[in-house]
């Protein structure tokens, strides 16, 4: 805990906040995107906006795995869960995300589907071992952070000759999403607070291309509030000094080349999909992973025949534009009035990393 509390120290935060106030140019408006929902959460939980000068604006990005999963994939997961032989294992956040017609895994569970919340894919393997007559499907979601454990589980299932374990793979990739956001030119940015945990796996090198191509500085930041403040300071310095680099603030965990063991594991079991749909961003080529043919027996999409689904979003929900950083949660007509954490109409209101949920939970003071 010492190493966590040190990164939440109020005195140090004040010092960094003063330095930021000292160095910002008064005639310039700085606009940074925190790519990850984890950062959005930290920014609002610790009240960071109240420590920044008015001309430093933070906008949230699409880095919330629960939020970017399109409805069609949630609808598929619900269909899987409703198969009588299936036990669907999912991370907790996913259970309440609304699919078409406000259906969700939690509602499927209430109507009799066997849906279990797990903390790790390891739990799903254990459930498969103890329920040999059932088909255990792991609903794999997330960016590069949660991908290596999924790859490892698939390898393990092969080693154990597990015939009743499959993965419904929805893993997506970060740098490609950044590229897609900048390519659209819908949102003006001066730089990114870059992903923390994702970068532990992939390192900082994969961001170099994006940074150069669009001339945007990126500072890879830890998830603690002092990390975020420090990264904002580093971004402001880069801009004031006309630099455009990929810097690592989160040096205690991130290396340039990432974690080679995890990367090899991912390459061994998973491969690029031709295209994949993202909520808000549409179809992006080479932006997600699928299970390689050598491991296809563990691919739920191969084992079960699932009809194609077209998700129908709530007409007034603006999750898509919120995810692209174009609009803020409070600009949504449904926000706080109809769409609340108890009754989420869009995915951004569900996960604590979702921009709407973070603003709803912590940011309604002003």
């Amino acid at each position: 805990m010492k190493y966590i509390n040190d990164f939440r120290n109020g005195e140090l935060a004040k010092a960094i906040s003063h330095e930021i106030i000292d160095i910002v140019k008064s005639d310039k408006h700085y606009k940074f995107m925190e790519f990850c929902g984890g950062h959005t959460h930290a920014i609002h939980r610790y009240g960071i906006p109240s420590l920044l000068p008015e001309n430093v604006e933070m906008i949230h990005g699409p880095g919330c795995p629960v939020c970017v999963l399109p409805m069609s994939r949630i609808d598929k997961a619900i269909k899987l869960a409703l198969l009588p032989e299936v036990i669907l294992c999912s991370y907790g956040d996913m259970l309440r995300v609304p699919g078409t017609d406000q259906k969700s895994l939690l509602k499927a569970k209430a109507s009799g589907a066997d849906v279990r919340m797990v903390y790790s894919v390891d739990d799903a393997i254990s459930i498969a071992k103890t329920n040999p007559k059932k088909q255990v499907v792991f609903f794999a979601i997330g960016f590069e952070t949660t991908t290596p454990p999924t790859a490892f589980a698939i390898k393990q299932a092969k080693k154990l000759y597990l015939k009743n374990f499959t993965v419904f793979c929805n893993h997506v990739l970060t740098p490609v999403a950044m590229d897609s956001l900048l390519q659209s030119k819908e949102v003006n940015l001066d730089g990114f607070v870059g992903p923390a945990h994702v970068s532990i796996i992939i390192g900082s090198n994969p961001y170099e291309v994006v940074s150069k191509k669009y001339n945007k500085p990126i500072v890879i930041s830890g998830f603690e509030p002092l990390d975020v403040l420090h990264s904002i300071l580093m971004l402001i310095k880069q801009i004031n000094e006309n630099r455009c680099e990929v810097e690592i603030q989160y040096t205690r965990a991130v290396k340039r080349l990432g974690n080679p063991i995890s990367l090899n594991l991912m390459n061994e079991v998973l491969e690029l999909r031709n295209t994949f749909e993202w909520r808000g961003l549409g179809f992006i080529d080479k932006s997600a992973l699928q299970i390689k043919s050598e491991f296809k027996e563990f691919d739920a999409e191969m084992r079960f025949e699932l009809p194609e689904t077209i998700g129908k979003e709530h007409k007034q929900c603006i999750c898509g534009t919120v995810l692209r950083g174009i609009k803020k949660p409070k600009e949504c007509k449904l926000f706080e009035k109809v769409c609340t954490p108890e009754n989420p109409l869009g995915s951004c209101m569900v996960s604590s990393e979702g921009a709407c949920a973070a603003v709803y939970a912590y940011g309604r003071i002003n």
Partner: protein, 352 residues
Amino acid sequence: MITETIEKKLIGPKINFNKGNVDLTHGSGGRAMANLIEQLFMREFNNEFLSQNNDQACYQVTNGRMVISTDSYVISPIFFPGGDIGSLSVHGTVNDVAMSGAKPLYLSASYILEEGFPLSDLKKIVISMADAAKQAKIKIITGDTKVVERGKGDGVFITTTGVGVVPENVNISSNKAKPGDHVIISGYMGDHGVAIMSNRNNLKFSTTIKSDSAALNELISSMVSSVPDIHCLRDPTRGGLAATLNELALQSKVGFIIDENKVPIREEVASACELLGLDALYVANEGKCVVICDPSNSQPLLKVMRSHPLGLYSEIIGKVIEDPRHFVQLKTKLGGMRIVDWLSGEQLPRIC
């Protein structure tokens, strides 16, 4: 002499509490049920009300206002570090009665047992209830036992109802918080919830944290006798401190400002919460109270609370403010401000 022999015949053979299991006859109203009541409940709870063998307990009504409260206990796991469903079912209801400022007097206890539940576990639970009642100086004076078929319950569920009497001049209610009032809590937050989580089957992590489950009636009694004018009292159980403050804000039509630095949270609890992605302010407690009082009374109350073993780590954590939106605001450790909202969904299922 003759009646004694008849009674012995009726009561029948000694129940094997080491190896036996609950079966449907234990709830059927027949001899097996009578045996169980006699050999377990009557024996452990042993008091003059139960020994009258009536379907109800009759007691004298005291002058003044009486208080009644009921609660059901479905906690999983049944045994956890620092307690079990039995002691919890006494502490929880005693505390609910005590939070009115009342002196709790009597409890009823009702059991729903699942066929197959080990009698050894039932005995442990009943002994633990008896001990908890004895410590809290309260009597369990009436009860009921039902058995449901295997698969229709989850081992054991317990419902307890408590009655108590409020001392004169004490008028505590959740709608009495006023702007300017101080907020005191009686100690560390989140111990109970984390102790339960660490013992869940699918979440094996080791921690030394024990549940804080305890009866607060003695602490409350010393508080109201030195400062009768307490505005609100509440035990922050499900949903933790966050839920309790939000409820009070709504009922009293006020807002709160809480200082995160003042809220005592054990380092082990904070670490476990980090690991599980929980916020300790939302984690349940079973032996703590939140007190709202006039600022002139907060220091005298703090002194009384800190002199009791269950209030050693009491702190003034914030104050009541005017706020038509009834927000609970937190001054974070970092120096920023944020809202502590109602809990949405379930953070921890079945913690009490």
